[in-house]
């Protein structure tokens, strides 16, 4: 598999990314030339202390943020300098996000939350035409994550684990190529966290889903194919690489 990786460009790659934020008058550098790439079907984890810039790296890769210096490439094509509309499209079609705090929309039911990416993708008329298919897809997705019994509940009526599974379902409904997970277990107890990791692993194995996960937990990170450590805005070393 490594051979294949060397021959084809990685699915997603972030190269020499620098990003700094203004904090009051001061410019605080967060990323200083960090780079990361993931091949199709790979499960990469990024580990680092809080403030090391790992979330920022993930946001830059997912086009939620743009780098000061450096490039983001999707299958070898630069995508970070695209127009806002094109980047919105990519976020909707190519990337799926899950967050530490789940970030479900509180006004919508679980089912509606899961359907949200498709609502955004299609115009009202298109959505109305495909509403049955969309609904079925969302229900199926919820079944996959084991939430068929909670379809019409509001996020506030769900437990943390359920919300995170719902968020995963939402991230996957649009059939993304890359799942970007920002501390998916950070807010869950150990057992629920384990469930979530099992789910991610299963998705990775069964559907060859590319996953880039950020965490501060070594044990969680170790479940990925490959782990990189981010320290002070730079990739320090590759911790382990699963023999392919």
């Amino acid at each position: 598999m490594n051979d294949i990786h060397r021959m084809t460009p990685p699915l997603i790659s972030a190269e020499a990314i620098s990003r700094s934020y203004l904090k009051g008058q001061h410019k605080v550098p967060v990323l200083r030339g960090a780079g990361l790439s993931a091949h199709r079907g790979e499960f990469v984890s990024v580990i680092g202390q809080s403030g090391s810039g790992k979330s920022t790296l993930l946001h830059v890769m997912g086009l939620l943020d743009s780098p000061d210096v450096g490039e983001v490439r999707l299958e070898g094509n630069r995508i970070d300098n695209l127009s806002a509309a094109a980047r919105d499209q990519l976020r909707n079609h190519v990337f799926g996000f899950i967050f530490q705090f789940y970030h479900l929309l509180p006004e919508l039911s679980l089912l509606e939350n899961v359907m949200a990416p498709l609502m955004i993708r299609h115009s009202i008329i298109d959505f109305w035409r495909k509403r049955k298919a969309t609904r079925d897809a969302a229900l199926e997705m919820l079944e996959q994550v084991g939430l068929s019994h909670r379809v019409h509940h509001r996020p506030s009526e769900l437990s943390g684990g359920e919300m995170q599974r719902g968020a995963i379902a939402r991230a996957l409904i649009g059939k993304p190529e890359i799942l970007l997970a920002d501390e998916p277990t950070g807010n869950l107890d150990a057992e629920t966290g384990r469930d979530i990791m099992e789910l991610l692993n299963r998705l990775n194995q069964e559907q060859q889903l590319t996953i880039v996960m950020v965490t501060h937990d070594e044990a969680i990170a170790a479940q990925a194919h490959r782990t990189v450590r981010l320290q002070q805005g730079q990739i320090q070393r590759v911790l382990h690489e699963e023999a392919a």
């Binding site: 909707n92 967050f99 929309l105 990416p117 609502m119 955004i120 993708r121 009202i124």
Partner: protein
């Protein structure tokens, strides 16, 4: 799709948005109510003015008038006949009326405008029968206190009703009795030199109103004595022998007036309101009744004009609903007025009232008439031009009121602005989530714009409904308010309306509602732009 869904969800779950809806609703409702009432008042007022004035009025410049009424009418008919439905000549001159209040025995002299008319002609250009009291029942606070004395198919004229005739004879009888008594007892003191010298053939008449009905009048010798008290009047009357007075009564201004003067008097001139202690109702008290005689003073047609006065019998009183008309105008038989003013020699009149077949042709008719009449002799105006000041005052008032009320809705708009800003701040994280799911900035913006639109639509429709309901039940609401506060909110005595007149124009309702919606959308632009400009990462980190 998500825009619509979220917008509807926000509408249902954000109770603070109710404040926006309520403020828009109240603004819209207020505007609709005020506009409807104002429009009602002004339409009613226009109708009443219009009815009294006919469509087009041709007026002579001077009070001497234009001679030869038949020729003038023919000229009008020739040039603009195709537009004209009816026309009637009339004489309009300033004057004074003098009468005595039978209760206080005080003598009143009031400035009036005398309109010499032919009743049938006047009725052809406007609804005269609707105004005359003998043709209409008298209603007080919704209770009929006197049925109509004449049915509407009785032709108009200068005849007294049987009741009026009875009253007239009673009055005449009392006068005679008083005069007989006075001449027998020799109660008349020697002639005082201050009156009759100036105008020798003064129509001096003193009424005898010592009895309980006491509805006759004083006819003081000259304007000076009018202002004096009753004893002064008696003194003045006593200057002449009773027989002379009768002569004067029969022929008030010399031999020229062969036609007895008959008048319809404006109700506002001779009536006042008192509260009946027993029934608690407002009651109209007439100081002059049909059958009474009054003194009318005016000016003759010659140059310079001279003062002339004559006795006139009140045949009826009228009530047009416009206090400007009812407390200023006295309608009189045109022949008698001509004779008393010396206009009968050349059959002169001062104005012609014209009713058009279609008021839309007013401009064409005006142009045709202006061609026919040389400029400088007459003024030709539509009733609107004649009443221009009053009408434009109402229009200006409505416009100013509308501006002020729209400011109220604008205030509601600022409320929406503030509340929306708050909602955007509250929803910051959700905005970040939507952007991470691929929502565009314009999409996020349109959520809040459509939210504003939805608030505007809901608030406006609620306001329209509330406003229309309020207008529909305005008289019931007025009753309730009157009952609650213990005093009349809408006093028909002041406004001359028994109910609050309203008129709802659909165009007005639509424009008010659209205006309110536009303001709601405008107010949501700023918060929506702010929401659109939020950086997704910062929005996601927002706690």
């Amino acid at each position: 799709m998500y825009k619509l869904l979220l917008c509807l969800r926000y509408l249902r779950t954000r109770y603070i948005a109710l404040a926006c809806i309520v403020s828009v609703m109240l603004g819209v409702a207020t505007m609709i109510v005020v506009n409807s009432v104002m429009a009602g008042f002004s339409t009613e007022m226009r109708d009443r003015l219009h009815n009294f004035l006919a469509d087009i009025v041709i007026e002579s410049r001077g009070t001497a008038g234009i001679p030869n009424v038949d020729e003038q009418l023919r000229r009008v008919q020739e040039c603009a006949g195709q537009y004209i439905a009816a026309m009637t000549p009339s004489i309009e001159v300033p004057g004074m009326v003098t009468f005595t209040d039978p209760y206080s025995r005080e003598s009143y002299t009031l400035p009036i405008e005398i309109h010499g008319i032919d009743p049938e002609g006047k009725a052809a250009v406007g609804p005269l029968k609707d105004y005359l009291d003998s043709y209409n029942a008298i209603v007080e606070d919704g209770v009929v206190v006197r049925p109509a004395l004449r049915s509407s198919d009785v032709p108009l004229g200068w005849e007294l009703t049987p009741q009026g005739q009875e009253h007239y004879e009673l009055v005449q009888e009392r006068k005679r009795m008083f005069l007989d008594e006075a001449s027998q007892s020799g109660a008349f003191p020697p002639v005082m030199d201050r009156t009759t010298e100036s105008i020798p053939d003064d129509p001096v008449f003193d009424s005898v109103d010592a009895t309980e009905s006491g509805d006759t009048l004083d006819a003081p010798g000259d304007p000076g004595t009018v202002l004096t008290d009753a004893t002064g009047d008696k003194d003045a009357a006593a200057e002449q022998s009773p027989e002379m007075m009768f002569e004067d009564y029969k022929l008030p201004v010399g031999s020229t007036a062969s036609e007895p003067a008959r008048i319809y008097i404006g109700e506002g001139l001779v009536s006042f309101f008192v509260k009946n202690q027993q029934t608690g109702r407002q009651q109209k008290v007439m100081m002059v009744e049909p059958g009474d005689d009054v003194i009318v003073s005016t000016i003759t047609a010659q140059t310079p004009p001279e003062v002339t006065k004559f006795q006139a019998t009140v045949v009826d009183s009228f009530h047009s609903g416009m206090s400007e008309i009812d407390s200023r105008i006295v309608l009189m038989n045109i022949k008698a007025l001509q004779q008393n003013r010396g206009m009968h020699l050349d059959d002169a009149i001062t104005s012609i009232h014209i009713r058009l077949k279609d008021y839309a042709d007013a401009e064409k008719a005006l142009a045709a008439l202006e061609q026919a009449f040389p400029p400088g002799q007459v003024t030709i105006r539509t009733w609107e031009e004649k009443q221009g000041l009053l009408l434009s005052a109402v229009e200006v008032e409505t416009a100013i009121l509308n501006v002020l009320l729209f400011l109220i809705i604008a205030v509601a708009g600022f409320g929406i602005l503030a509340i929306f800003y708050m909602i955007v701040v509250e929803k910051t994280r959700d905005i970040g989530i939507l952007k991470s799911l691929g929502a565009s900035s314009s999409g996020v913006m349109s959520i809040f714009l459509s939210y504003g639109l939805a608030l505007g639509v809901v608030g406006s429709s609620a306001g329209v409904m509330l406003g229309l309901l309020f207008v529909h039940y305005i008289n019931e609401i007025e009753d309730l308010l009157s009952w609650l506060t213990g005093r009349k909110v809408f006093d028909e005595k002041i406004y001359y309306f028994f109910e609050i007149p309203t008129s709802i124009s659909p165009w007005m309702v639509i424009s008010v509602a659209l205006g309110a919606i536009a303001i709601a959308v405008l107010a949501s632009i700023l918060p929506a732009r702010r929401a659109a400009a939020l950086h997704p990462v910062r929005a996601l980190r927002f706690e």
